[in-house]
């Protein structure tokens, strides 16, 4: 897989992961172009399209498009499966995930993706082990920083 994009119906990018280091300028151009093509497609159409020298597999979940670019020889259906698996993971992690979850916790969405896919190859096919790894890492984070951003309180600044 070359890259993965998440964007909304309105064409707002929500997440991008590039498995081949690409210059920012090219990234922007590709994202813009691809969003246009994908958003123009009707819901009844198939999830695959050929774009430049890549194959694009996308799927829409509610208002969010999940879009992967794969190489010529890769299997489209398994990529579709991969997208679905990722959505399932997000769903498990956030508990019925919605677009806002991904917007506000976008770093978490990245961490989950990183545990699931690495360097464009699927890393672990087991949902359980991915979630376990994330939980463990989160736990570590809690220990490392008791003051988690979410739990921060405006009311009582600590005075030494």
């Amino acid at each position: 897989m070359r890259f993965m994009l998440l964007f909304s119906r309105q064409g707002k990018l929500r997440l991008q992961k590039w498995y081949l280091a690409t210059a920012d300028k090219d990234k922007k151009k590709m994202v813009r172009e691809l969003m246009q093509v994908v958003l123009a497609r009707k819901p009844k159409m198939c999830s695959f399209l050929e774009w430049r020298d890549l194959k694009v597999v996308y799927k829409r979940y509610a208002s969010l498009y999940f879009c992967c670019a794969i190489e010529g020889q890769d299997n489209e259906l398994i990529t579709l499966e991969l997208i679905h698996r990722y959505v399932e993971l997000l769903d498990k992690y956030f508990g019925s995930v919605c677009e806002l979850d991904i917007i506000f916790n976008f770093e978490k969405a990245y961490f989950i993706l990183d545990e699931f896919v690495m360097g464009g190859e699927i890393q672990d096919t087991s949902k359980k082990s991915v979630l376990k790894a994330i939980e463990q890492a989160d736990l570590l984070q809690e220990v490392g920083t008791p003051q988690k951003s979410r739990g921060r309180n405006w009311g009582t600044p600590k005075i030494p």
Partner: protein
């Protein structure tokens, strides 16, 4: 210090965190840019602080902004700071930011090397994990080189979490630093058998990716992958493996045979569509199944069906062609993706017979198509389809030219140059068509205003380039040369792009020359002078051109013509000399011709021709021509002249056709032309109307009519042929003539309408045929095309950095594998053998081992059913050793010298010969089986005089030539050089098939090497299991029920406990190992059927309980049944 900390945390209270930022952006919809630039200022402030938590927060926000499209490369150094934080929370954010925005151009990336190395060796596995994940996104060649060794060490980490990440990232490292592939490969291979499924699948992933690019280096892994394929239940892994086999099969045809069985099993048993698709893709055996996919209402399946079909098309075009109707139907689909796929298919499906029909369909689509992209795609496809394999499928070039001309009516296409190139190519290479082409091109030039009028349509004006050139070059075929010249001189022409005008100018002169000659020959001096005058009047408009090329040509020619005018005034005949300017014929030159000119012997292109120049002066000197004289050029093949009669006949046909065509311009001048012919009216400006609607260019013949004509012609041909046949048959036997109507038209029956001579492109003499230049030198995967079986050289060790990093770990762990690899023998062997041998080798120096790898593979086929069911039966690896003195120790010594101290005494097997065999029974002869044995010489010596002998049993005997005794072996009909394999077949007769049989046998052979030759023997066993006499036979459930009801079957049953594999997998195992097919399956209960070569029916009922499986069997023969069940028990207990 403490105060500082406190101050930092208070400051932090007032910083925005990521959530605040996101919320803020959402609340500032109107002035988002302003808000964000304000935020970035804040972030810059935050980054200046010492508190790492503040920095991390800032970097986190930057990462979000980066996604929104803001440049954050200025913060690269801060990102590295956050990456090196000791707390995981911050480290995680730092690596995330780095993976999002670092790339090879990021200059600070080198600074990360030591940090990453430190994190990789961190005791906390999540630190290591996050470093690996980050690295996978931004690894550069330098990082890859410096860290390869560290990552390789991690591949053997105790935690599977790290192992799997390390394995995956190795692929990225290989891509960036190909030298690391060979040292790391053995360990990577080990990971294929890792106890952790995640690591295993990661290793499969990486090796499959590697092997897909350069399959030939990975052939030796095939048995290992085969084992994985038959044992794995993970669809993700299976897909990769099947893909890998797809790449390997073309290189090793025997694999294909072996694969069919497991793949068909998968196809029948899997419920995952993705896996099914991959199998179908690889096997490409069931076109019929694909039809179902395409007809499905699910667009996704439709798309994939078409895609798979296009792959089948490459190998089995016939089977796909029958689905033409369906594919043409797909052209009407709403979905562009699907239409494009269908188009691809059409490309491969055309034949002489259906080309016109298909193109006609496409032309209709061109007219209907909305959106220029799709229409352009259609246009290119039409041209591709027609011109493929050197115009192989075109029977009528007039039709093709008309198609091209019709295509020029397309609005706004970008592919004018394509059409132009085709026109040129056809006109130059198909001599017979030139006359027609010229007349069409003249028409185009005449109607140039329609083509070039609209600025949007300027893509198409490229065709005028071709038109002008063709009319000029082949002006002798032009009937109305004057009119064409006229058209080319119109003022409107000056609005065309420069390069087209340049061609116009050049070809005008060619036209002018031929007109001049015509007129002079006819003695019409005034007409000749008029035409000269016309040129002189009109050329100045080109002299004023802004385009340098046009200007130069025009002024040059203007001078020439002025000179001609002078001569004409003196009544000197000039035509001959003018025409001489353009004498000679241009031949097409192959695109690669220049490259292929061989370097003459004795010419060293790198040597200085003169001494290296002392000053710039000598640069002007040019080497003399290095090309051969190309005298033979014109002696190339000429088509035998068509006889007069044929010509007359065709002319007649053409006239007929023209008469029927309302658009065809008859040779009598039309009123419009007469108007233009009249000199003097010329300078009246004629206002031309621009119409954006595509007009039918008047006088264009419709291509459709050719389709009709062609049909008639073919029909006629067919009739004639039929008549002839009838006659012949009548003469022979008058009664059978009725059957003639069944005669089907075959491809070869269609003779081309014209005898066309397609001139082949010229190549220089002595050009070497090669495909090398087809390879893309920029292919990033080419660097990974490395022979993995060669032993490692010292220089190939991975760089271990010593000087830079004091704490760089060099655990013995990281060194050992390198040593191991160095001692790797140049022989392919399974890993497990290696270890055993090493131990033994130390003890018994003089022992020689013969490693025999037997991959037993048995398969059967029932040929008259046209279906081949092949099964791989069992795989066994046996180590056999024989004590033997007087072996070839001398030849081993040089090999040992490369070994490292610890392994000095290891002896190497001298000859290891692998055998693979198939047992094939056939239904036509119920007492014979054929055993095909594949012999592979794995030693470095030459093997000859091989003889195979088997100790016959009462029941099973090897079929020997008459007159030979049971002690005589059967010679193997070939010799084996080192590393070569070959296949021989032996026939066995057997009486009863109800019992399994094991036959002992010996292969004797002579080993020949530099030292001389010795006689050697190799013992083996042939295992004829009962299951190997079964043939997978499909059975319908009703037939199955009847069979069970009949009551003449014996019954037996077994139960096996401790089965943990899934039921589906279990069934697949039975199908695979015991040649059964599933009749019906309900939940965890299935009925199965098979048949022996002697016609015994075997029915099974398989039930799966909690932890056990029970199998009830029914069969005509109770012994056979109990033996079969015993075998099954053995297989299942291994699960």
């Amino acid at each position: 210090m403490a105060l500082k900390m406190v101050k930092g945390s208070i400051d932090r209270m007032f910083d925005k965190n990521l959530q605040d930022l996101v919320r803020g952006i959402r609340n500032h919809k109107e002035d988002e840019a302003k808000y964000i630039s304000q935020c970035i200022d804040e972030i810059k402030q935050e980054l200046k602080q010492d508190n790492i938590a503040v920095k991390a927060n800032a970097v986190c926000k930057l990462t979000y902004l980066q996604m929104l499209g803001y440049d954050i490369s200025w913060a690269a150094f801060n990102i590295i700071e956050v990456m090196s934080a000791s707390k995981f929370t911050f480290k995680r954010i730092g690596y995330l930011a780095a993976s999002q925005c670092f790339h090879e151009g990021t200059d600070v990336i080198m600074l990360t090397t030591n940090q990453i190395r430190k994190d990789l060796s961190s005791p906390n596995q999540y630190d290591t994990g996050v470093a690996l994940t980050g690295l996978s996104c931004f690894v550069t060649p330098d990082l890859a080189r410096d860290l390869a060794n560290d990552i390789m060490t991690l591949m053997s980490h105790t935690k599977p979490y790290i192992r799997k990440k390390a394995v995956l990232i190795m692929y990225k490292v290989f891509l960036k630093y190909p030298e690391s592939l060979r040292p790391a490969f053995p360990r990577l291979k080990e990971k294929l058998e890792d106890p952790d499924p995640g690591v295993q699948s990661a290793a499969v992933n990486v090796i499959c990716e590697l092997a897909r690019r350069n399959p030939k280096n990975y052939l030796s892994l095939a048995p290992l992958f085969f084992k994985l394929m038959t044992s794995s239940t993970n669809n993700w892994v299976l897909i990769k493996i099947i893909k890998l086999f797809g790449a390997l099969t073309p290189l090793e045809p025997r694999l294909g045979k072996k694969l069919i069985e497991p793949l068909t099993n998968l196809i029948h048993s899997t419920s995952a569509m993705s896996l099914l698709y991959e199998c179908v893709n690889t096997v490409i055996l069931c076109v019929q199944k694909l039809r179902i996919l395409i007809e499905d209402s699910d667009q996704n399946l439709k798309y994939l069906g078409l895609l798979a079909m296009s792959k089948i098309l490459k190998t089995h075009p016939k089977s796909v062609q029958s689905h033409k109707d369906l594919i043409l139907q797909c052209l009407d689909d709403k979905d562009e993706s699907i239409r494009l796929r269908a188009l691809d298919l059409l490309y491969g499906m055309v034949s002489k017979k259906n080309l016109m029909e298909i193109v006609k369909k496409l032309m209709i689509h061109v007219d209907k198509a909305e959106g220029t992209t799709y229409r352009d795609e259609l246009l290119t496809k039409i041209i591709d389809i027609c011109s493929q394999s050197n115009y192989q499928y075109i029977t009528n070039f007039e039709w093709y030219i008309s198609i091209l001309v019709e295509l020029t009516r397309l609005e706004g296409t970008r592919h004018g140059h394509l059409i132009a190139a085709q026109m040129l190519d056809v006109a130059i290479r198909v001599k017979a068509i030139r006359k027609f082409a010229v007349s069409q091109m003249a028409m185009l030039l005449d109607n140039a205003h329609l083509i070039a009028s609209n600025t949007q349509r300027n893509g198409i004006c490229e065709v005028l380039y071709a038109a002008a050139w063709i009319c000029g070059e082949f002006s002798e075929h032009l009937e109305e040369a004057n009119q064409t010249l006229e058209a080319m001189l119109r003022p409107k022409v000056t609005t065309l792009p420069g390069h087209i005008q340049a061609v116009y100018v050049q070809n005008m002169v060619k036209l002018y020359a031929s007109i001049l000659q015509q007129k002079e020959q006819a003695g019409e001096k005034e007409a000749a002078q008029e035409i000269t005058q016309l040129m002189i009047e009109r050329l100045p408009q080109f002299v004023q051109s802004a385009d340098l090329e046009v200007q130069e040509r025009a002024s040059c020619i203007l001078q020439l013509i002025k000179y001609i005018q002078k001569l004409q005034a003196k009544e000197v005949p000039v035509a001959e000399e003018v025409i001489a300017l353009f004498a000679g014929e241009l031949n097409p030159v192959a695109p690669k011709a220049q490259k292929k000119v061989p370097v003459p012997e004795g010419l060293d292109l790198d040597a200085w021709i003169n001494e290296p120049p002392s000053d710039s002066e000598s640069e002007d000197e040019k080497p003399k021509t290095i090309f051969h004289e190309e005298e033979q050029r014109h002696s190339r093949h000429r088509q035998p002249e068509i006889d007069e009669e044929e010509l007359a006949r065709r002319r007649e046909a053409r006239k007929q056709e023209q008469a029927n065509n309302p658009f065809y311009i008859k040779s009598s001048p039309s009123p419009q032309k007469r108007y233009q012919d009249t000199p003097g009216v010329e300078h009246i400006p004629v206002v031309q109307i621009d119409l954006s609607v595509p007009l039918k260019v008047p006088g264009m013949p419709m291509s459709d009519q050719y389709v009709k004509l062609e049909e008639e012609r073919r029909h006629k041909q067919k009739l004639e042929k039929d008549k002839k046949k009838k006659k012949q048959k009548k003469e022979k036997r008058g009664k059978h003539h009725r059957h003639n109507s069944l005669h089907t038209e075959s491809e070869e029956d269609i003779a081309p309408a014209h005898h066309v001579d397609i001139i082949t492109e010229e190549m220089p003499e002595n050009a070497l045929p090669s495909d090398e230049d087809d390879k893309d030198p920029n292919d990033p995967y080419k660097a990974l095309d490395i022979d993995l079986d060669k032993p490692l050289a010292d220089s190939e060790k991975l760089p271990v950095q010593r000087h830079r990093n004091v704490e760089a770990l060099k655990s013995p762990d990281s060194e050992v594998p390198l040593v191991e690899k160095k001692s790797k023998k140049p022989k392919k062997k399974e890993k497990k053998h290696k270890d055993k041998e090493r131990e033994k080798g130390k003890k018994k120096e003089k022992e020689k081992k013969v490693v025999e790898e037997e991959e037993e593979e048995k398969k059967k086929s029932s040929k008259h059913k046209k279906k081949k069911h092949k099964k791989e039966k069992e795989e066994k690896s046996k180590d056999k050793k024989k004590s033997k003195k007087k072996t070839h120790h001398s030849e081993e010594e040089p090999l040992e010298s490369v070994q490292n101290g610890t392994l000095e005494d290891e002896p190497l097997p001298v000859s290891s010969c692998a055998q693979t065999y198939d047992i094939q029974g056939n239904l036509q002869n119920d007492s014979q089986v054929t055993v095909s044995v594949i012999f592979e010489n794995k030693s470095t010596s030459f093997l000859k005089s091989m003889e195979l002998n088997v100790l016959d049993s009462l029941n099973t005997k090897m079929l020997r030539p008459e007159g030979s005794s049971v002690h005589d072996g059967i010679p193997v009909p070939f010799q084996l050089p080192p590393g070569i394999s070959n296949e021989a077949q032996f026939v066995f007769t057997l009486q009863s098939i109800v019992m399994a049989q094991k036959l002992k046998g010996t292969l004797s052979f002579i080993v020949k090497n530099d030292e001389g030759s010795t006689h050697e023997k190799l013992d083996f066993k042939l295992h004829f299991s009962c299951a190997s006499y079964l043939i997978t036979t499909p059975c319908y459930s009703d037939a199955f029920a009847k069979l069970l009801e009949s009551g003449d079957l014996h019954m037996n049953s077994i139960k096996v406990d401790g089965i943990s594999i899934s039921f589906q997998h279990l069934l697949a195992k039975i199908c695979f190992h015991h040649h059964f097919s599933v009749v019906e399956r309900v939940d965890s209960c299935a009925s199965m059927y098979s048949r022996s070569i002697q016609g015994h029916h075997v029915c099974l009922l398989v039930k799966k309980g909690e932890n056990s499986v029970s199998i009830d069997g029914k069969c005509n023969d109770s012994t056979l049944l109990s033996n079969l069940l015993d075998e099954m028990k053995e297989t299942l207990s291994k699960c």
